[in-house]
Symmetry: C2
């Protein structure tokens, strides 16, 4: 025996959500059907609406339902600084850390020839024209510190170097509040090689 | 900064799902928007459909989109046995354990005067007429072994006793495959009081 066909279909559909296996999908379906039908209906409507209307910002390519996102519209950001990130979640993390007052460009991924993801999929043409035409002084390559992220940063750096823009990368090192014992060897040797003079502040 | 209003609304709507906090909701929203829009659209459509069409089986009150569920329709079950459970998930667990070939009655909860859940909310009138009119020989009270489940079982037993039906309750004891060390005291003393003659089979 199993649940009715429509309930089974609902459980299967819930498994598109990351981290949701069969047991969790069952718990979610039962919760919505038994205890929160209004919340479920609201979720269905908002999900449909968001998938219909959320697209890419015409300037920075972040996810937004507007043609140009709020951050690109803002007049209080520094046009001379452009931070390139792999995802909207990375962008949000940098914003939440505070301190950065420039603009962004979102790649939605990294170069991955094996998956057929090339420069055009990441909007690198648009990035290049923006740098060439809009007085960007420094591009901060904030792709992930992974093999793919590094390769993507190198590719972009090579593409932009002809435009005489300053290029930078986030500093590598030991994370704040961590314990050295648990830091991996690659990070530790990077942190040694990049060591800084001690200042007592 | 945060995501755009519609994305924030999607993240908030996802939190109706049990066990989904702000971080998980963000990860789910990003996954659907960035990597699986088709899956997300399918989920929205199926969810809307299920919440619209899934109701209670007219006979046993389990969740189904049909008027009468497949198990109640089946001619291969024993009409003389009726198992009363708190939820469709409990019913499924019993079916998956195998061995039981009778019918079910689903309460969708337990008596809870403080939450305003009384006998009529659990369909106890329908249960009583079914027992009175349909030749049920034994009612197995398989409510949860909790204070509320026990109270509900006692209430139903008192209600049905006038109809001369046999009443039973699931056996209490130590769970199979567990270690005695980790079994709680209440269960252990129940298992002692209910001890059975040893048979070498």
């Amino acid at each position: 025996m199993s649940f009715s066909p429509l309930i089974e279909k609902l459980m299967e559909s819930l498994r598109v959500l990351p981290g949701v296996g069969p047991k969790t999908a069952q718990r979610m379906a039962m919760h919505l059907l038994e205890r929160d039908r209004d919340g479920g209906r609201r979720l269905a409507a908002v999900l449909e609406d968001a998938l219909e209307r959320v697209g890419y910002c015409r300037r920075c390519r972040t996810l937004t339902e507007d043609e140009v996102c709020a951050l690109c519209e803002s007049t209080r950001r520094d046009d001379g600084l452009l931070c390139v990130v792999e995802s909207p979640a990375d962008q949000l993390a940098i914003e939440e850390a505070g301190g950065y007052r420039g603009r962004y460009f979102v790649l939605h991924g990294h170069l991955s020839p094996l998956d057929g993801i090339g420069p055009e999929d990441l909007g690198l043409d648009a990035l290049e024209s923006r740098v060439a035409e809009e007085g960007v002084e420094e591009v901060i390559l904030a792709t992930n510190p992974t093999v793919e992220g590094e390769a993507t940063a190198h590719y972009i750096a090579a593409q932009l170097t002809a435009h005489g823009v300053r290029l930078s990368r986030l500093a590598y090192g030991v994370p704040m509040g961590g314990e050295l014992e648990y830091v991996d060897g690659g990070t530790l040797s990077r942190a040694f090689n990049g060591r800084l003079p001690f200042r007592g502040d």
